[in-house]
Symmetry: C2
Subunit: 406 residues, 2 copies
């Protein structure tokens, strides 16, 4: 019989400039919180997968899993665990989620109820911002050599979008207003304050037309979750959420290799795979944590995930969010069929923060909390189905997952 995968616990550090804490401190905090939330012990964990883009370049350490073993698991005698780091740039967390999901299923095939910790982290602020930006550019095609940065790459996408549609630059600025508004209800958020549309509009150009307040920042943080078979979750009497499927797809690393740079084929295909395997579609989804590293990225994701027709998201952004300054958070998008969709209730990468390797896991933490009904002030009432969408580079990798309240 086909076993399902259940998320039974989540943990999440504050995101921000955490200069007084090491990367191990952050992983430990997120991991122990997840264990406590799941009400299990260190020795119950069989494996852990850590999404992380570049501890090598940010912190000069490799062999991450063994270090984590020393600091977290080794205190518990008799421990027998296998960890590893998973790298796929900013989608490292999503790939760790995908790997953990598959490992639970592999165990089920062998008659084992494995308990897996899926984590993600990045410690970026120990480097000056210009150096951190250069390290991040290692996720692009020869970014360091050619001098491309991600604000510039996503600026090119925005430029093209403005060229091909009737969208105005300020349409995208509403996205940032909405995200900051949501983040104001999230204590873990890096930027938990509201911003006005005027402020976003007048913020300085980082890489024209990408403005500062269209961009996620440089951050430190970690997130973790515990998953196992549904069978085991029931045995543990856990308040679990089903991870119905996780799929990822690659695309070319460079934009110039793509037929249409306004379509992230990786996102589109990954979503199609998830919709096909789960039987759910965009119309069934209540909440979504999307990869909004820049405002244009959220617009493109809304299209590529099937919520809006291609090159039409800007109309719905305008329709949904142009008066959001005066609304109560979390602020939803209006869908063509009249339904509402809550996107990035956490504040998203923009305002909750984007410690890159942590993001894919942090997204799943937010969706899990929303579906369990313990998202506090930003709770979406009656949310039953949610997705996460995590992108590496400018779409060279995308991972989509679908979670459901059982």
């Amino acid at each position: 019989m086909k076993e399902k995968v259940a998320i039974i616990g989540v943990g999440h550090t504050e995101f921000g400039e955490l200069w007084d804490r090491s990367w191990v401190d952050l992983v430990e905090e997120a991991g122990l919180k997840a264990l406590e939330d799941a009400n299990i012990k260190k020795n119950d964990i069989n494996k852990f997968f850590l999404g992380n883009m570049s501890l090598g370049m940010f912190g000069g350490q490799e062999h991450t899993a063994s270090k984590v073993f020393s600091e977290i698991f080794n205190s518990s005698p008799g421990n027998q665990v296998l960890g590893r780091r998973i790298e796929g740039a900013c989608s490292s967390g999503g790939l760790a989620l995908e790997a953990s999901f598959n490992d639970v299923l592999a165990g089920a095939h062998q008659g084992e109820d494995r308990v897996i910790m899926a984590g993600g982290f990045e410690k970026m602020t120990d480097k000056p911002t210009d150096e951190a930006t250069k390290i991040l550019s290692a996720a692009s095609d020869m970014g360091k050599e050619l001098g491309f940065t991600f604000p510039a790459l996503y600026g090119m996408l925005k430029d093209r979008y403005l060229e091909e549609t009737d969208a105005e630059e300020e349409d995208f600025d509403y996205i940032a207003v909405k995200s900051h508004k949501n983040a104001s209800l999230n204590k873990r958020a890096q930027y938990s304050f509201e911003v006005s549309h005027d402020k976003v509009k007048k913020s300085f150009k980082v890489a024209n037309p990408t403005k500062l307040l269209n961009s996620s920042g440089i951050a430190d943080g970690a997130a973790a979750l515990i998953m196992t078979t549904e069978r085991k979750a029931k045995k543990l009497d856990a308040d679990y959420i089903l991870l119905e499927d996780v799929r990822g797809v690659n695309d070319s690393i460079a934009l110039f290799e793509r037929d249409d740079i306004l379509t992230l084929v990786s996102t589109k295909k990954a979503a199609e795979l998830v919709y096909e395997s789960t039987g759910f579609g965009p119309g069934d989804i209540d909440i979504a944590e999307l990869h909004d590293c820049f405002s244009i990225a959220e617009a493109l994701a809304l299209e590529d995930l099937g919520f809006y027709p291609k090159r039409e998201a800007w109309r719905w952004i305008r329709k949904s969010l142009s008066d959001c300054e005066d609304k109560q958070a979390p602020v939803p998008y209006k869908l063509p069929n009249g339904d509402e969709l809550f996107v990035n209730t956490s504040g998203g990468l923009k305002a909750k923060g984007h410690p890159v390797g942590a993001t894919g896991i942090a997204q799943a933490v937010e969706v899990t909390e929303q579906l369990r009904g313990n998202a506090g002030d930003r709770q979406v009432e009656g949310a039953r189905i949610g997705i996460t969408h995590n992108v590496g580079g400018s779409g060279g990798t995308a991972v989509v997952s679908l979670l459901r309240k059982p």
Copy 2:
């Protein structure tokens, strides 16, 4: 029904100082060779896992999988594949093998016959040797800060072994003589020449008592293999080898945290898990590719994997190899029960070379070729069962796999 995992194709580049080739060239060569060997197309691959320790620090590139997609898979329209990099220091390749194995089983659980490429690579010689040694020390606990290098860490293990037993330093030198002898029959080896015991003994001390000819070198190289379900392998009419199980276990990253530094608990536990799940034990094994980054490491592995009692390997090394200069390669070890065990027929890390992220996969390539009977001049007649043993750091991670001729 429990599905088994089959290896249906292998690919392996030359190992060495390959200054005229990029890391992508190497991955491409190994990957295409594996596809050709398996007689399948790029579009047949569902996922790929790339073991690599530190392309970030060695080559300034992250998001490895997307770059590989661009260079290898993208030329094939309709391609839909998901790749990622797996990091666990020098056990990155073994962890990629483990991840691939589990992914095939996860697919089997969902009714999919996934075809997975497990690869590994490292491009180390673009950095000067002292810098490469520093990058490698990032796999230890604060190695860069404290000035520890791996020749020094393994030197401490050798020192302790010499202190606790009646072994002589030159006993370990026979291991290098044997490995070079085996490598002389391997065209892909970095050091495919024989060395005399006298030469090893007189080679200069890198970090006393670790001598140059006790040590693996700095190398470039890549290896890849294709695996799928046994059901699919039969459908493809492939000349396949069964990957019976792959297990890994972590230990502390630092030696001072261990009860007995002469026991690699990670190796011991991983082997026990594999022996238990497969029903095979040390007495059933014909060939083994062991992690001999330094000569002492091979001695300890022979004990921890259960071939010799603890602190007794040196006697059997002396008994088996002291006259190996005059013997025909491959030269076997004598086991206490009178059987023979062929270890590192490829030349091992010492003489075949150790591009760190490639090693775990390269070991499985050698065992697969031996079990298929196409290992050429170094073929072990009648080999039916083999293991691989891949270590990260000084034992912070160990991965053991068992392969069997069906």
